[in-house]
Amino acid sequence: MQNRGTGFRLPSCLLRLAWLLCAVRADGLVNEEVRRTLDLSTHLAKVSAEVLVANHGASAVQSFTLALESDLAPHLAYIGASVKGDEEEDNSLALKETSIQGRSGTFFQVQLPSALAVGEKLRVKVETVFTHVLHPFPSHITQAEKQLVVFQGNHYLYSPYPTRSQTTRVRLASKTVESYTKLGNPSKNDEVIEYGPFKDVPAFSQDAMKIHYENNSPFLTISSITRTIEVSHWGNIAVEETIDLRHTGAVLKGPFSRYDYQRQADSGISSVKSFKTILPASAQDVYYRDEIGNISTSHLQVLEDSVEVEVRPRFPLFGGWKTHYIIGYNLPSYEYLYTLGDQYALKMRLVDHVYDDQVIDQLTVKLILPEGARNVHLETPYPIVRGPDQLHYTYLDTFGRPVLVATKKNLVEHHIQDMVVHYTFNKILMMQEPLLVVGAFYILFFTVIVYVRLDFSITKDPAAEVRMKVASITEQVLTLVNKRLGLYRHMDDAVNRYKQSRDSGTLNSARKTLEAEHRALTNDITALQARLKAEGSDLAEKVGEVQKLDGQVKDLVCQSCQESERLVAGKVKKETYITSEKTLAGKRQELIARIDGLLDAL
């Protein structure tokens, strides 16, 4: 196998060697020792390599180049390089995509923290994650079958520098392996295959590695996710994720039998029943639903440092099946929103955890900022495509909230990082919404007031008008009569006081005021009576009757007043006074009752 591989390459090898010499001459870097690990235990291919880079060149170098094979490069989701320092664990390095002429593949230029002097060595850790590189084979399986996948890669580290020594270690999902390429007589131990060590591998060398093995881990892919973050300055950040989920493993062939699925443990072993989504610890009001309502099969667990949702789709996901759901929650804004005067900064995750080892094919982030936010500036941890800004209208909005739209393809767990949005917001604008509500209610009540007070009818009903006039007059009469009756009570009080104090002056003055007021009231009532008569109402007669009765009452009051005077003067005995007072009171009661009767009749 090995011979065939090198033999095949021989013609081009010379050419490459020549170029390699140039390259080495250019920066003189050599991979002294490479330890590659291919983790294929999930549906991702996580390739990490620890490279000991040595500078055998003439001058110190500032950067070195990473390379990816051209058939893997399109599937690259994440690449990161870090320096293994002595104390600090990871010191991640800045990467920049470049190209090398005459070479296929994708290249990244890694900026070193400090120049690598001649003869010095540096241990660099390169981490890459590839998605959709494990292809199910066979591509269609029945419910009882297990899922087998094929991985095709490179035995060697693809590098623009020659490699002195390297090992490759492949971790699989299970012990069952159908076949694997046997370059250099690899050793297989349970789930691990170890290749190498390979010595003195030239630069840009490739050798096809192919592993066909059983992998029943959930092949879940988020084909699209829209993450909407709505910031409110009233203390809340609402997050909603609309997720399209697909099982990208081997497609289910033939029937789905619920009986087998329920009764046999290994039936549909590659299917996905549920998974866990980890939300921020302060997440509240979590909802999990789709177009036709709440998905009742979920569970929520509040842990100390996170909220864990057991997301269980309505149905188990077999290969090729998909589902769609919405998950949303609220966060308190004080944990994510920072402010300095009018300056605001929102620091949140650009994309959050959906399930372990997640793959997101297409991410759309929508950031809805409060109405009136200006000078918006978005800082992302990795490049992301900004769409045109939009406007969003929701409760009590007038000119719309600015919406930032950003999209990115092919994301994995490593992309769960914070972004920062800076914007300015005038705090006065906070008052806008309450004022709107106040204004709306004000207008409402004002309209009602105007409507009730004004007459909008286009016709006039004379009869109704007369009725209303009469009603108002009678009301006036009633109040006046009652007032007059009240006067009598006042008089009684005055008399009683007089009986105790024996001060005839006050009595006389009280009597005078009573008389005066009574006259005024009686005159008023007579005037009203005349008006009633003018309106042609028969109530005038009743008012006249009331007047007559009232005259009698007044006589009685005067009489009782005189009686009391006489009592005080000692002209009558107490007993006779009491009896006469009683009869007077009785008469008065009777008269007042009759007046009341008449008034009721009004």
Binding site: G254, Y259, R489, G586, D600
Partner: protein, 790 residues
């Protein structure tokens, strides 16, 4: 002025404000009536002492009570939302929701032109022309307005909460109608009744997004405006009535009830010699404008001048014109001339009426027989719907509780003090009782009138017995003469509200009753009302608040399990089948499949095409290969059935199966015979003793496929059907042309995929199969033609 007034009677001002609600009604009500011209009552006692403007208090109280009624009605309809979620219930609401969704996304005109190719495959359905659009337009309009104000509510929530909101409007229109019929206190009671009565709640809980939810409001409001226009004779009110009638026509097929009841009212008024110019104006305007407006609804079209159920209105219109003409002539002619003319006219009119009646009876007179006639045409289908069954006595009590006992009393009050509008309510009551007796569903039309009449009865009783209560609360009198006076004035004050004379007559016997009996009666009445409220809440909570899309079961410890199988399966269909896949199922699930799964269905709850349904029924009840032929001809991709044998759900397809057989037999008597599905003893059994036809028909096979292996618990043998409590008779079921595509967690919904034909099959039987197919389709076409010409 106010100040001195209050100073004068400080000790009496706060006397009679007890927290009793009913008392408030009475008192405030009386005041209202007492002072129509006075504007305010100022007697020596009573509550007006502290209330400077009784009219203000009164309107505040009415407003508060109506608002509370609305609130109570709204919140008691939310059981399902609180227990489950904001979800559309049952079957028909899913269609309404789907069309509302279509309306709100595509606009009104697009909705009117909507041809739904997802229903009745391969026929499709012109939705815009075959629905009453009122409901969708109402919900769509509310949604549109809210969105215009940037209240971003989802259309689903608008739909879910539409019926509870409209129940408040119904309460208000019932209040208005009852106020016109009797008085304000009765109106308030009626509003409270209708807000919580189960008979109406059954159709208007949150999530029950159905025509009836808004139609009852439109019905009550139309009647209110009609009564108002008869009372005033003003064109303004009549036009209002017509608009409201138009809304009703656009909302519900039950508008036929209005267009028959109002002419009936006019007719009876004429018979009672109660003709007046007001009546003439009201009815003439109503008939013409209402007719024109009702014909604007595409689904109604020319029906109002064509079909028999609208003819009574036309006949009465003609009669009224003739009558009015005679009245006019009466003024112009001498008595002698008039008499001859009168006889002539009467005989002519009688002849016309006679002919109309003959014609109407000949064409099966409309309204009275409308529903039963409808049922007769489509017998098996209509009869198979549970809500079309005749009403039992229990359900009267269940839905109306105490009101069903008290409303005859109210009716008696109305008839005893009859006037134009009370004639109307009497007719309303009588006809509604009849309809409710015919069909459970029409309990709905009975409910409002029962509420109104019961409110009248209760209100009258309370007026008699509570009126004196207020008096007793006054401080007991010192002198006998004094007391007499006071009582007199008090009575005058309290009782002046009664416009009716009999109250003063009844004053005397009441005085003989004494306070004890009065308080006992009052207590009894209040207890009845309390029990009514308790019953209403209980019924609402237990009987009418299940979405039926989501089932719930309770464990021994009270915790709840949600069985969400329907949505599980529908959502599977929605996500994991081809967008244009055709799903065959029994018609009950058509709307749900269209709404939740968004897939094409063959038949649905619209049930307009009996032969199509029969074809599906035939496929379900044939053996697998015969069914496969039918399914092939109908391009079926999936078959969906409901199977309750695992969890003991009784509304499943095996229990409905006989209806499928019957409907199929109606159209295909040669192929399907109901007797084949019974044992020789005439039993319908699924166990070994069952008939072989049943044990091998498609429905049976699909329901019990692989169920024979399943052992639910250790006490029962494998394949034990919990719904029918029987061990199934055919355990070894093999499917040749179908395969299991999906089964929900509790096996409630099972979906089968119809396999495509294998490649070699057409080669082998090429000639034969093609011939058979041709024959088959031509046969079908012929049948359809026949059907149409009949």
């Amino acid at each position: 002025q106010n100040l001195s007034f209050q100073l004068n009677y400080p000790h009496e001002s706060s006397a009679s404000f007890s927290p009793n609600m009913a008392e408030h009604h009475t008192v405030s009500e009386c005041k209202h009536k007492a002072n129509p011209n006075a504007g305010g009552s100022l007697s020596g006692n009573g509550l007006s002492g502290g209330l400077t403007q009784p009219a203000g208090w009164q309107s505040l109280l009415s407003f508060t009570i109506l608002f509370l009624a609305w609130l109570a009605g709204f919140s008691s309809r939310l059981f399902a939302v609180i227990r489950f979620e904001s979800i559309i219930h049952e079957f028909d609401p899913w269609f309404n929701y789907r069309s509302t969704h279509h309306l709100s996304t595509n606009g009104f005109y697009e909705f009117l032109n909507w041809f739904d190719e997802r229903a009745w495959y391969p026929l499709g359905r012109i939705v815009g022309g075959t629905v009453y659009p009122g409901l969708m337009v109402t919900a769509g309009l509310i949604h549109y307005l809210l969105n215009l104000l940037h209240v971003t509510v989802h259309i689903r929530d608008v739909c879910v909460f539409l019926a509870p909101v409209f129940s408040g409007l119904t309460a208000i229109s019932t209040f208005l109608l009852t106020r016109e019929l009797w008085n304000q206190s009765a109106g308030l009671l009626a509003a409270c009744f209708i807000a919580i009565v189960p008979g109406y709640i059954s159709r208007s809980v949150a999530g029950s997004f159905d025509n009836e939810g808004i139609a009852i409001f439109a019905l009550q409001f139309t009647y209110y405006l009609w009564v108002k226009s008869v009372k005033t004779g003003s064109v303004f009110w009549t036009i209002g009535c017509c608009l409201s009638y138009f809304y009703m026509v656009s909302a519900w097929g039950g508008y036929v009830f209005i267009i028959n009841l109002i002419p009936l009212h006019v007719f009876v008024l004429l018979l009672m010699q109660r003709y007046s110019r007001r009546l003439y104006i009201a009815y003439s305007t109503f008939y013409i404008v209402g007719l024109v407006l009702s014909m604007q609804i595409p689904f109604v079209g020319f029906q109002p001048i064509r079909t028999s159920e609208h003819m009574a209105a036309a006949g009465v219109f003609a009669l009224l014109q003739a009558y009015a003409f005679l009245q006019y002539l009466k003024d112009r002619l001498t008595k002698q001339e008039f008499q001859t003319l009168f006889f002539l006219g009467v005989s002519l009119a009688a002849g016309v009426v006679f002919l109309t009646v003959i014609y109407l009876t000949y064409t099966e007179l409309g309204c009275l027989y409308l529903y039963s006639v409808y049922a007769k045409i489509h017998i098996p289908i209509i009869a198979s719907v549970s809500e079309h069954q005749p009403t039992t006595w229990v359900s009267f009590f269940f839905d109306l509780h105490i009101l069903v006992c008290t409303f005859p009393a109210g009716l008696w009050f109305c008839i005893k003090n009859v006037n134009d509008e009370r004639v109307f309510v009497a007719l309303y009551a009588i006809s509604a009782v009849y309809f409710a007796g015919v069909m459970v569903r029409l309990m709905l039309t009975l409910t409002p009138v029962v509420c109104m009449l019961s409110a009248i009865a209760f209100s009258s009783v309370f007026e008699h017995y509570l009126g004196d209560d207020t008096k007793r609360e006054n401080p007991p009198a010192e002198d006998s003469s004094d007391e007499d006076d006071k009582r007199n004035s008090g009575n005058l004050y309290d009782k002046a509200g009664k416009v009716r004379k009999h109250v003063s007559e009844q004053d005397k016997p009441e005085e003989g009753l004494g306070p004890n009996i009065k308080s006992i009666v009052t207590m009894l009445m209040l207890m009845l009302l309390m029990m009514f409220a308790v019953h209403c809440t209980w019924v609402t909570s237990n009987a009418y608040s299940s979405p039926s899309v989501v089932l719930a079961s309770y464990n021994h410890d009270g915790s709840r399990n949600i069985l969400d199988d329907f949505r599980e399966a529908y959502y599977w269909l929605r996500q994991n089948t081809d967008e244009h896949a055709r799903v065959m199922s029994w018609w009950d699930y058509g709307y749900q499949i269209a709404g939740m799964a968004n897939r094409t269905t063959l038949v649905d709850n619209n049930t307009w095409n009996n032969s199509h349904i029969a074809l599906v029924g035939k496929a379900m009840s044939s053996n697998e290969s015969a069914a496969y032929e039918i399914m092939k001809s109908l391009d079926v991709d999936y078959v969906l059935i409901i199977f309750g044998g695992v969890i003991g759900y009784s509304g499943d397809d095996i229990n409905k199966f006989l209806w499928m057989v019957r409907i199929a037999e109606g159209e295909h008597p040669k192929d399907i015979r109901e007797s084949d599905y019974f044992t020789p003893q005439g039993e319908f059994r699924v166990d070994k003793a069952g008939s072989p036809t049943l044990l091998n028909c498609l429905m049976y096979k699909m329901s019990y496929y692989r169920f024979g292996e399943m052992q639910l618990d250790f006490r029962t043998p494998p394949g034990f059907d919990r719904t029918r409590n029987a061990e199934i008779g055919n355990k070894d079921i093999r499917l040749k042309h179908l395969e299991e595509a999906f089964t929900s967690e509790h096996w409630l919904v099972r979906i089968y995929r119809v396999k495509k034909q294998e490649n070699r099959q057409p080669l082998e039987h090429k000639l034969r199969s093609v011939l058979a197919k041709q024959k088959y389709t031509s046969k079908k076409k012929g049948k359809k033609l026949n059907k149409k010409s009949v």
